[in-house]
């Protein structure tokens, strides 16, 4: 009897440093000859303050950041490629897993693009239900930002409070769709199900209670000298630079530019609601914090108005070519059975064309580009993820600031690596 030969793997012979030769550092101006030398520090990819798997190739002079190159792709899972192999309605679950904190937004952008290609009208009740869930999702996403951002500044209490209140929103999602995350609630043509009995009351309870929670958070943070000194005047970038870098969302609004797609190009009945766009003044980390806190209050107002004005009617398009027939029809209607069979096996076909559908997610302009070739599967799905584009501004934000402020600025940038790497 012979033991099988076990070969010990040797270290991979990949010349990583040579391949990263283009990461060139000689352009960075630094003072002091010989005494103060530049230090290259790899921050991440596995680092709790990078909010995911982000690697920051940082060049330091003493404690001052002279250059930052974000290196991404550690979370790349090829979702856009996977989507090309699935029928349109089966793409929604994988699309939702891109930016894993704002799954309703991902599904909304995708479904909106498909509806544009199909020229499909969404019933008003479905539009309102979408708005309710989108805005609750915005609050949930901002709460994670607040929790982890405060943790990066050293505040542990806010961390727990943020997760606690986000859990209440997840309870609401669980009630309406059966899932806490990646709910697959928004479907092409409407939403998956009507809201259950008692859902409205629980959302109203949340809406009436949450402002006091926000007051508590602000009482903890707004008068905290440590937090204020870490945020005020740190990481400020002017509006034009951000626009050139394609930055949208709370980061852009913090500089005073009131660009918000919900107001500028209303989709899904956002023009029916009365809400304000919070803006900052100088665009530093404090403004970013204030803008997001104020946005949560505005989102609550939208949710309440949507509940008040929730129209009656179907919650998904009555067109059986695109929406599954209700369960009871399957037992009595031959056509319903055929439609059900066709939708579940092949899916619906989408006429050839290209659509770009932008919405305002919690982090900025989230857009879905779809190219349809006439079959039941998309020929190309591309997500313009706000985190991916916003990350480009990071270098400008932390240039010549302290390393500790880099952590705070990254937290206030609020990148989600699942969305960046897709």
């Amino acid at each position: 009897m012979s033991t099988p030969e076990v070969r010990r793997p040797s270290a991979p012979q990949v010349p990583y440093r040579e391949m990263e030769e283009s990461v060139e550092l000689s352009h960075i101006a630094h003072e002091g000859d010989g005494e103060q030398e530049l230090l290259t520090l790899n921050l991440g990819p596995h680092h709790p303050a990078t909010h995911g798997v982000l690697r920051l190739l940082t060049t330091l002079e003493g404690e001052v950041v002279r250059d930052v190159k974000p290196i991404i792709g550690y979370l790349h899972t090829g979702i856009e490629k996977t989507a090309e192999d699935k029928a349109y309605w089966k793409v929604i679950p994988v699309i939702e897993r891109m930016d894993y904190l704002s799954y309703y937004f991902n599904a909304m952008a995708f479904c909106g693009a498909v509806e544009t290609l199909l020229d499909l009208e969404v019933p008003p009740r479905a539009q309102y239900l979408r708005v309710i869930h989108l805005e609750l999702n915005r609050i949930a996403s901002h709460l994670i930002w607040l929790a982890t951002g405060a943790l990066d500044l050293g505040a542990i209490s806010i961390f727990w409070y943020g997760w606690r209140d986000r859990d209440r929103i997840l309870d609401l999602f669980e009630m309406s769709s059966g899932q806490r995350m990646h709910t697959r609630y928004i479907q092409v043509g409407g939403v998956m199900e009507d809201i259950p009995l008692g859902f409205e009351q629980r959302v109203r309870d949340f809406c009436s209670e949450f402002p006091s929670r926000l007051d508590q958070f602000e009482a903890l943070i707004d008068k905290n000298q440590i937090v204020l000194q870490r945020l005020r005047g740190v990481g400020a970038v002017d509006e034009q630079t951000l626009l050139d870098l394609g930055v949208t969302g709370p980061l852009l609004r913090a500089t005073g530019n009131p660009w918000d797609l919900r107001k500028a190009a209303p989709y899904s009945s956002y023009d029916h609601f009365d809400f304000k766009i919070p803006v900052g003044t100088v665009g530093d980390n404090y403004d970013r914090y204030r803008v997001r806190m104020a946005e949560m209050r505005e989102s609550l107002k939208i949710v309440e108005q949507a509940l008040d004005g929730l129209p009656e009617g179907p919650y998904i398009t009555p067109d059986r070519k695109y929406a599954l027939p209700p369960r009871h029809e399957l037992a009595t209607s031959m056509e319903a059975l055929i439609h059900h069979f066709k939708l579940v096996t092949e899916g619906f076909r989408v006429p050839p064309g290209e659509a770009y559908y932008p919405i305002e997610s919690a982090r900025g302009e989230l857009a879905c580009f779809i190219r349809a070739d006439g079959s039941s599967k998309p020929a190309r799905v591309h997500m313009r993820d706000p985190s991916f584009v916003n990350l480009q501004a990071f270098s400008a934000m932390v240039q010549d600031s302290y390393l500790a402020d880099l952590i705070a600025t990254l937290a206030m940038l609020d990148p989600i690596l699942g969305g960046i790497d897709r």
């Binding site: 793997p9 990949v14 394609g246 290209e354 580009f369 591309h382 991916f388 480009q392």
Partner: protein, 178 residues
């Protein structure tokens, strides 16, 4: 959004600017085609006139580049496409500028110097489709590993061909140490 007529006017203006700049009128003034689909205007331009077209549109108010994305039009030729989504924030207008290049010669001039936001997005298209952006300051792979071969978002890229490394099959898989 510019309507269908407005799009033709923009195309005409671009052609006129193209001629006025002395770049000849041979290749239809840089604008190959216009498309108006679902209230969305799109211009198809030649790769050589991308920068000039985008600059002209910037002068017309489209100052914000919302997105750059790549498309593989397989089996149509030319196969690879690059789309630039421009946005006019004051009038809330959007327009798409498209370029098509063949796989054999996938060269598009980079617009990163004029539009800094295109930096990462051009790198992603290079990574996923193999479009080479001439003049890009730092054209490396961005999402795939640096030693990866091939461009996975192309339509003819095989799916599922890579063995997955586990502890039990690690020594048996080919080239596992390389």
């Amino acid at each position: 959004m510019p309507d269908a007529t407005g799009l033709e006017l923009i195309a005409q203006e671009l052609r006129r600017a193209h001629e006025a700049a002395g770049r000849g009128s041979g290749d239809a003034g840089g604008v190959l085609d216009t498309a108006y689909f679902r209230d969305k205007a799109a211009l198809l331009v030649t790769p050589a006139s991308v920068q000039a077209t985008l600059e002209h549109l910037r002068g017309m108010g489209y100052r914000f580049m919302a997105s750059v994305h790549g498309v593989d039009y397989f089996p149509e030729e030319p196969r690879l496409g690059v789309h630039y989504e421009l946005l006019d924030m004051s009038t809330v207008d959007r327009i798409t500028v498209k370029v098509r290049v063949p796989v054999a010669d996938p060269h598009v001039p980079s617009v990163t110097n004029e539009w800094p936001t295109a930096d990462h997005q051009e790198r992603e298209i290079y990574d996923m489709f193999g479009v080479i952006f001439d003049g890009h300051p730092d054209l490396r792979r961005i999402l795939m590993p640096e030693d990866y071969e091939g461009h996975p978002q192309r339509r003819d890229f095989p799916v599922g061909g890579e063995p997955v490394f586990f502890t039990h099959n690690e020594p048996r898989l080919p080239r596992y140490t390389q």
